[in-house]
Structures are given as C-alpha cells and as structure tokens.
Symmetry: C2
Subunit: 333 residues, 2 copies
Amino acid sequence: MSTFLASLRGEKVNRFPVWLMRQAGRYMKAYRRLRSKVNTFLEFCSNVDLAVEVTLLPERILGIDALILFSDILVPLLPLGVKVEFKPKPFLKSPPIEELKEFDQAKVDFVFETIRKVKEKSELPLIGFAGAPFTLGAYIVEGQTSREFLNIRKLYHSDREKFNLLMEKLTEMTEEYLSAQISAGVDAVQLFDSWAFVLSPSAFKEYFNHLRRLMESLKRKHPEVPIIYFFRGSGHLFETAKDLPADALSVDWTIDIEKPLKVLSTKALQGNLDPALLYADREVIEREVTNFLQKVVNYRKTLFVFNLGHGLSPDMEEEKVKFLVEVVKRFKL
Amino acid sequence: MSTFLASLRGEKVNRFPVWLMRQAGRYMKAYRRLRSKVNTFLEFCSNVDLAVEVTLLPERILGIDALILFSDILVPLLPLGVKVEFKPKPFLKSPPIEELKEFDQAKVDFVFETIRKVKEKSELPLIGFAGAPFTLGAYIVEGQTSREFLNIRKLYHSDREKFNLLMEKLTEMTEEYLSAQISAGVDAVQLFDSWAFVLSPSAFKEYFNHLRRLMESLKRKHPEVPIIYFFRGSGHLFETAKDLPADALSVDWTIDIEKPLKVLSTKALQGNLDPALLYADREVIEREVTNFLQKVVNYRKTLFVFNLGHGLSPDMEEEKVKFLVEVVKRFKL
C-alpha cells in the first residue's frame, strides 16, 4: 500500500508521506504552459485531457506521495444554477438560496472522467475534494472572495433558518459529489473549509452538525475511503473540529502542531507549516521542516501526512518546493 | 471616576462600561454629513475641528462610556516617509525599511490638538490609539489591505533581521506617538493589532518581545494610563498574549469569552461578540448580549469593558447600534 494511505490508516511507514495543497499550480512552469492552451480557468478545469495532465504534473516534478484532482471547489456549484467567472479571482452570481437547483452530477461529468483517466495513468493514490459547506456558502452569499466574509456572518446572525437551509443544500450536494468522485476512483477525499476561520467557536459548533452529517453519510457508503477535513482557523476551531468523524484533520499554521498531536490518538493529522516558509533560504527550510518533523515523531510514527497550512502561491520557486518535498522524504522513521 | 476607567482598574462599578470600535463611522448619518465637507479621508482626519466633532458624536448619539480619538492607524506613518492614499481603501508607498525616517511628532500635531480640544469639550474618558507594530508593518510591506498578508509573512521567513528592524522602528515610533497622545490628554490607549491573526503561535511569540518592550516603556513613563491591546486572532494567540504587560486585552470573536475569563484574574478584558450580530433582530441582539454578560458576571463584576470583536461596518443601522449600547447599560451588576 502507498505510504500516504498507510499513514492515514495508522499502519507502519518508513517515512512520513507528503503532498502539498495547490501542488499543481501557477508557480510551476509546466502548469503555466498547459494553462496557456485555453482561455478561461473553467475551460482549463473542464478539459479532461488538460485536467489529467495537470493532476499528474507533481508526480514527475515533485515526487509527492499523493495526487490531488485538478479542479476548483466552485465547479459543483455550476449545476446548482450558480454562475461563476474567474477574472482571475472568482466572481459568483447565485439565485436566491431557496431557488438553488438540485445537484445534477451529469453536468460535471468531466470531473469523474478526469479521475478515471488519472487512475489509469498513475499508481499514486488520488485525492478527490470538495469545498466544505460553509466555505461554499460564504462564496455564494459573498459573491467573491473577501477578507471578512461579513455577509455570510450576517446571514448566520440575521436569518439562522436560511443559513441552515443553505448549509443543508450544500451538504447534500457535497455528499453526492464526493460519493461520485469515490465511485470514479479516488482513494481519499479532502474537504476544504478555507473560510471557516471567520466563525466564532459557538457558530462553528452549530455548523459542526452539518459537517458531521456529511461525513457520517459518506462513511456509511464508503467506509474504506479516508476523509480529510482541512480548515483554516485551526487554532480556535480545533477544540470542536477534533470530534468530527473525519479520518484526518488538516490544520493550518494557527495551531502549534504539538497541541493536536497531544490530544488526538486515533485520528491522522496533516499539516501545517506556514507556506511562506518557502520564501526562506534552503538552509532555513531544511532546519524548520526537520525540527517540525522531530516534534511530530515525538508523538507518533504514523497517522501523519506532511503538508503546509495552506496552498502554494504563484510566486513561489519550483526548485524550493521540490527541495521541501525532498527534505520531508529524507526524514526516516 | 468614570465607569470605563474604574472597570479597567478593577474598582467597583454598577454596570459594565461600553464603547465600540469605529463607533464614529460611516454607519452614522451625522458622520457622513461631516465627511462630505472635505475631499479626502486624510483631510478629514487632519482637520482638527472636524476630527473633534467626529470624536464627540457617539457621546450624544449612542451614550457610550468612552470616546476614542477619531483618526487612522496609518496617520503616524506619514512622518516616516510613507505615502498613504485612501481610495477609499488605503494604498501605501513606503521607502525601503532601512530608509524609513525618524518619527517627527510635530508633523502630526493635528492629532494632539484634536485630543486637547476633545478634552475641553467632554468629560468622558478619551482613548488614544495606534496601530501595533505588526499591523503597521503588514501595511507597509503589503502596500494595501490583504486577505493573507503573505508579504509580511514572507519577510518574516526570508529575512528575520529586516523583519525585526521594521518591528523595532515601528515600536519606537508607536511609543513616542502614544506618549505624545498621553501628554496631550488621553486617559487610556489602545493598540490595534488587526492583522495579528495571520501569525502562527511561534511567530507571534517572537513578535511578542517588541510588543512587550513597547508596553513596558509606556508604563514606565505613564504608569497611570491603562494600555489596551486589541488583537485579531485571539483564539490562537491568547495563550501568548495573556502575558503581555497590558492592562487590558481586547479580544475578537475567535475566542469563547469564558476562556480568558477563567485564566486572567488581574487583567481587564474587553470584547468580544461578532459585530455581525448587529444585523440580527433586536430580540436576538438583546438575548445574545444578555447571555454574554451573564457569562461574564459569573467570573467578574469589574475589569470588564463591553465592546465587539471588531469595528462597526458602514451598512449597520444606527438604531441597532444605539439599542446594543442600551442593552449593555441596562445590565446591572
């Protein structure tokens, strides 16, 4: 079995597995070359041949231990009737929450087709993914990225019923979407809750129930497929998130890794250095990553996947990213 | 003595004092009327008569327990040679860090003049303020507001020496600036660390030393003036921030208020409901605020100041803000 899946399942591994969020991204020359073949970002995601190629890039270039489907968390909103445009940041136009359409997976079949083709071409485990309901809801209500996501917080405080209706609709869609990805062949799924950090601990506790239902339902259908929950704001939300029925929690850099290491014994952890570390010299990267892994190994020798606390940025150096992966792989258990 | 200062000092009060960040702001009709008298936001801040009037507005309109100087945290960057423009969001052009000028308080004399005039016109305690060094540094390095503040994190990881030089320069300036505000008559000072939330716990620990020096130096010169430290990211930074030599910690909504209430016995607390609560119905506001204050009173009957976890937003209703203040003032100890 792959190091990635073995470590997620708590089996013995010789080294910690590593993959990186946005590992196939604009920082990579080969990615930019492929990107230039089509006009819009949505074409890029929905062109199966290109999406397959992009998904596979990090295997050859970085030597990571898992691939992640190349797509965007906003893709499954299209069948709901949400209009999405990337300029290059996303702008959304959504019908009123009550009028969001039922999810029709046939409309995003290119995603499942991409998964099937990647599985034919690589033996690496493939991670499927979806945005978590809160993050998708924040995009829908806000219409774009935002620093504060005030409008979804407004909805939460001013109309709890409608907020919960939105979360329910998105939970249902996400469950179907991830199930279909699993049926198409992904080996694990990751939920991205990139904007969860704007939630107070008590608001997150309420939202928790939607997440739990989503995960429980997936687990019932696909008990063998690990669910990874990535959430920004790990520092203040971990206390609640730790009780989710996920197989792994992927934490951002707002939490000292020792805290979850101390508390969680049966769940895997993924994370969590600040991606900005990649701007440092190789010497600093090597020292910081090694010290970090040394901390981890004081607590566990499995149930850990190295990743950063968030995605890679376009201006990062490909060579440095490669070096980071090497440092992690060199660290023997 | 005023309820505000008494509570900050741990003396007996009949009710918890209340003021709100951005209490004089665009949500307020009278503010918008005054704002329309000048072209740029910087003119608005530097016109002493207008700044005095704006500072005083919330006394009459809201009935809060403290005034806060009307100005902007970017104002003291002007004498350092930083160019600031509001369109309406701030855009900055800064010389290289090594070439930032020495702070010359004469160049922002309008701030001290505003303070002196406000003190002549009102008996309410007046809060002076400044941006905390990290938040100012983030603005300088980024050149504008940002969701991720990746560039200051980049500086932190790639050139620690230069990062610390920037923090030292800003610490020195801020110390002088707040000292001068105190000499001009403010009764308390608040440091705004609005972007601290992008820091990891370990990066915050390093930055902590700059904050400590700043506060210790102010305390030596003005032992009687309370220092309030407001920091976003309270959920993951509180563990370290609690040891700062501030008189009060002003926390955002990423922390359940019971946590600092349990831990801090001699420091005052200020905060911390999500400002988005103001979009809710009066009924909800009243219930949430009352439940919140009930929690506080289980731990303490002084050393507490009601505020929100962040500033008010332009689209909030003046009447609701007024109602919020009433609810807090009605809650007797």
